[in-house]
Structure formats: structure tokens, C-alpha cells
Subunit: 127 residues, 2 copies
């Protein structure tokens, strides 16, 4: 942990990748406590900047991420967490949060994969 550099807010970005097929699923932020819990429990925990609180991924939806491997980069300021993802990572119902792209020639925006579920069935109303 002493090789890691948390930013001025005490946070470090964590890229989450599907350990089986390599798909990048999401990026979120961890503080020291969420990294500690991630390593200790084997399930990802993050820190929400908008809600200003520590959270376990999947605590509401059940779509947890079981940790296979935690790597960090040359500068020690980014984590790469390789996981086994339950159902889907994105609150929109998509497997990955990265479901839109700029079309390489036209620059138009397009969806690259459809959602796996309707978020209204999984999360409470008003979300």
C-alpha cells in the first residue's frame, strides 16, 4: 500500500476489468478504507464522490464483483482490479459502463451493446 499515491481528496482511480474476457467494465474511486476492504473481503468496495460515502459494489443490485487480482501502475496512482462480475457492472443495465463510442469515421455516437436488464426492475424507483 505504501507504493500507492492517493490524490489530494484521499482517492485513487480503480479500473475494473472482467478477468475472464478482458472487457473493461467501469472506473470508480477508492479511498484507503475501500481498498483495504476490497483486499480483505475479496469483493470490490469504492468511495462515492457524489454521495461522499464508502460503498460495496452490488450492495443494492446484488451485482457484486469478486476480486481475482489487484494491480497498480508504474506511478502508483491508478489501480486495475480484475474481477468476476455478477450480471452487469452498470446501473443502466449494460454489462459495461463503456457502452457508447464515437464512430471512428463519422464521429457520431453509437451504442456498442444492448442492456442486459431494465434498471427499474433492479433498483428502487426514482433512481
Amino acid at each position: 500500500m505504501r507504493d500507492l499515491r492517493f490524490d489530494e481528496r484521499g482517492l485513487i482511480p480503480a479500473i475494473v476489468q472482467d478477468a475472464q474476457n478482458g472487457q473493461v467494465l467501469m472506473m470508480a474511486y477508492m479511498n484507503q478504507e475501500s481498498l483495504k476492504q476490497t483486499l480483505l473481503t475479496g469483493f470490490t468496495h469504492f468511495f462515492s464522490r457524489s454521495r461522499n460515502r464508502f460503498w460495496k459494489k452490488g450492495e443494492e443490485s446484488g451485482h457484486v464483483q469478486q476480486v481475482k487480482e489487484v494491480l497498480y501502475d508504474c506511478d502508483g496512482d491508478t489501480l486495475l482490479v480484475r474481477v468476476e462480475q455478477e450480471v452487469a457492472a452498470c446501473h443502466t443495465g449494460h454489462r459495461s459502463c463503456f457502452f457508447r463510442r464515437f464512430h471512428p469515421s463519422s464521429g457520431q455516437i453509437e451504442e456498442v451493446e444492448p442492456p442486459l436488464f431494465d434498471p427499474r426492475d433492479v433498483y428502487g424507483k426514482g433512481k
Copy 2:
């Protein structure tokens, strides 16, 4: 571009992934200008926070990244750039900047892949 949210510094984190084998290579930051040049030229450009300047990846080493696809996440605050990487992404000589991990059971740090070259042969002395 209007779907994207640059932070208070005018930056957005960009995860770079090998489009062929899915390896996550690095994470760096882009400003509007570097994203525009990335889409326009088909080669990744970033913004260095420490040197406070715009740069083209590989401008010194020749280890450029040819862009295959640029995706962005549900919140519009992170990019995922899928590339064809020339030689290696990391200035240490490793293919990926994520070459160390916390061992899942012991928590000890270990290297997961060896470097591909000696950085002293590629970058100027004193780097």
C-alpha cells in the same frame, strides 16, 4: 463531445486498452484539445499534469498508439481508448504500466510481467 464531463482542471481520465488482446495498458488524462487530436489524427494524445502540457504518446520513444475505438462511460466522465500499441506503453519498458500486483493471499507485491526493453536504450539519459 457534449456528452463528456471534463473535471475542474479541464481533464478527463482515459483508460488505454490493447484492442487485440484486451490488456489494459495505461491510464492518462486528456483535455479537450488532446481528445480532438486523438480523434482527428488516429493516434493518442494526452495532457501531462506534471509537465502541464499536451503530448503525443510515443513522440520520443516511437511507441505510438493507433486508435481503433474511443468509448465513454455512463457518466461521461471516463474514456476508454482501444488501440494498437507499438512495442510497449510503459516508460519502464513493460508492455503495460500495470505490471505489479498485490498477491491475492499474502498481499505481497509481485511483478506479473518482465520489461520488453531497457528504458535507457529508448529514452534520453537522466529520464
